[in-house]
């Protein structure tokens, strides 16, 4: 089989969860099934750095198929005019997989699209206007164009069926995996001290990793944390929020100031990939009371590091955490604060969740994810 992966999500120098998911699945798939031919296709927009980055990911199993045209211009034009994708990337592939919701017009061969979640329908206020606009226009058409639709969790499948019941028979669930080379219990404690020092963190801390945006429920987490500090007093652990600035984040920063928590809450600068593992491992617990997640990669990564997790019971999160986390009510600041206190107060609970989390994370491997994805491709090739 000749399989093409649309490489747009892995082109950026600051990759998001969608990019990491594509990378984990495609690299593992290509290594596990070398009998097929694979390529990453993408518009370079004349940027050589982009080519270098993707080449590094491609390794020896995946070839590059590039076009010098502007990806931004293509996406903008192809939203309204049926400019054939095959005009830029040829007609050689048996299957082309798009990992970021949108299938462009006139792709040769069979088409697979990954639809990660339906947040633009379920919580439209938390999505950027232009993203919502593009999905409103493009997703329905994309799902019609796709021969099969891949999604990350049973929850997301139910969500897609809720809004697009006509495509139910085309949906396949392929959960993401966790990269155990990046996320594992820390084997060098001195790295934890170094990373803490570089990020100006002193003492114990709760950790959140993810974009700083309203969907992640950070305003309520901050309010809950303030209540926790009030209860525990001076020695309470800090709250570290590590993640890129998102959209509508002003309310989050102003909440910290309003509650007088500027000394207790640390917004880190950009955390390099190699520092993430020590940062996770050094935390007292990982907190993730998100309102909506298509999968919920960060809590899984924390579990893979052996870090106890506090998560909400919303959306797909229970599928990921199972009974290996303290579950809180995302809408109730008191419930979040109680969860934090439970974890802070009981070393026994932290140890127990750490062990259970490690075991559970072992079930989410990229190998399993890649095998399930190959089943999807084989189904199409029949």
């Amino acid at each position: 089989m000749r399989i093409t992966f649309d490489a747009v999500p892995i082109c950026s120098d600051k990759m998001t969860g969608i990019g990491w998911c594509e990378l984990g699945q495609t690299q593992t798939l290509a290594a596990l099934f070398p009998e097929n031919r694979y390529e990453y296709s993408f518009f370079t927009s004349g940027d050589n750095e982009r080519v270098k980055r993707v080449k590094k990911f491609a390794g020896k199993h995946i070839k590059l198929n590039t076009s010098g045209f502007s990806g931004f211009a293509y996406r903008a034009v192809s939203t309204f005019l049926p400019v054939p994708y095959s005009l830029f990337f040829g007609r050689k592939s048996d299957i082309t997989h798009f990992f970021n919701y949108i299938v462009p017009p006139f792709v040769h061969g069979k088409k697979v699209v990954t639809v990660h979640d339906m947040v633009y329908k379920s919580f439209p206020d938390t999505v950027r206007g232009r993203t919502k606009y593009m999905l409103d226009i493009g997703l329905k058409r994309s799902m019609k164009r796709a021969d099969l639709i891949v999604t990350d969790s049973e929850f997301s499948k139910r969500e897609i069926v809720k809004y697009f019941p006509q495509h139910e028979s085309k949906i396949r669930v392929v959960p993401c995996g966790v990269d155990t080379e990046r996320f594992h219990p820390c084997d060098s404690p001195e790295r934890i001290s170094k990373v803490k020092k570089s990020l100006e963190i002193e003492g114990d801390y709760f950790l959140y990793v993810g974009t700083i945006e309203p969907r992640k429920n950070l305003e309520r987490l901050i309010t809950a944390y303030a209540a926790f500090v009030k209860k525990v007093g001076g020695n309470s652990p800090k709250l570290v929020l590590a993640g890129g600035k998102g959209w509508l984040d002003q309310g989050i920063y102003s909440r910290v100031e309003k509650l007088g928590m500027t000394q207790n809450i640390i917004f880190t600068k950009y955390v390099p990939s190699e520092d993430m593992n020590p940062l996770m491992c050094g935390s007292l617990a990982f907190v993730f009371p998100s309102l909506y997640e298509g999968f919920g990669m960060p809590p899984l990564e924390a579990m893979a590091c052996g870090v106890p997790v506090l998560a909400s019971g919303e959306a797909s999160l229970p599928e990921v955490t199972g009974d290996c986390a303290v579950i809180c009510d995302a809408y109730d600041t008191k419930s979040i604060a109680e969860g934090m206190f439970k974890l802070y107060n009981s070393e026994k609970l932290r140890k127990e969740l750490s062990q259970k989390g490690l075991q559970r994370a072992q079930g989410f491997t990229w190998k399993r994810s890649a095998e399930l994805l190959m089943d999807v491709y084989r189904e199409l090739a029949k």
């Binding site: 919580f123 809720k162 809004y163 309010t223 009030k230 919303e314 008191k334």
Partner: protein, 87 residues
């Protein structure tokens, strides 16, 4: 397996309205637990009654809101907790 406290449903209550009301009620609850005077809590609770919760449109062009039954139960529980604390 799902622990969702407020399920989404086409139609239903407008999510941002519900969340605004929940936040206001939670603020009263937290305030009471941190020594907010009874009179002030009663006044704050009264204010939350003014927060209107609209309904989403149903049908083909409708949007997703919070399930009405879930929302009403959740709000009633929260108000009961506050009233218990006010005494």
């Amino acid at each position: 397996m799902s622990f969702e406290v407020l399920r989404s449903k086409k139609g239903g209550y407008v999510k941002s309205d519900v969340i605004a009301k929940l936040d206001a009620l939670n603020a009263v609850l937290l305030g009471l637990e941190n020594g907010m005077p009874r009179e002030q809590a009663l006044a704050e609770l009264k204010k939350t009654e003014q927060i209107e919760i609209r309904k989403e449109k149903r049908g083909f062009f409708g949007a997703s809101g919070f399930d009405t039954e879930d929302t009403e139960t959740y709000l009633a529980d929260l108000i009961a907790k506050i009233e218990k604390l006010i005494g």
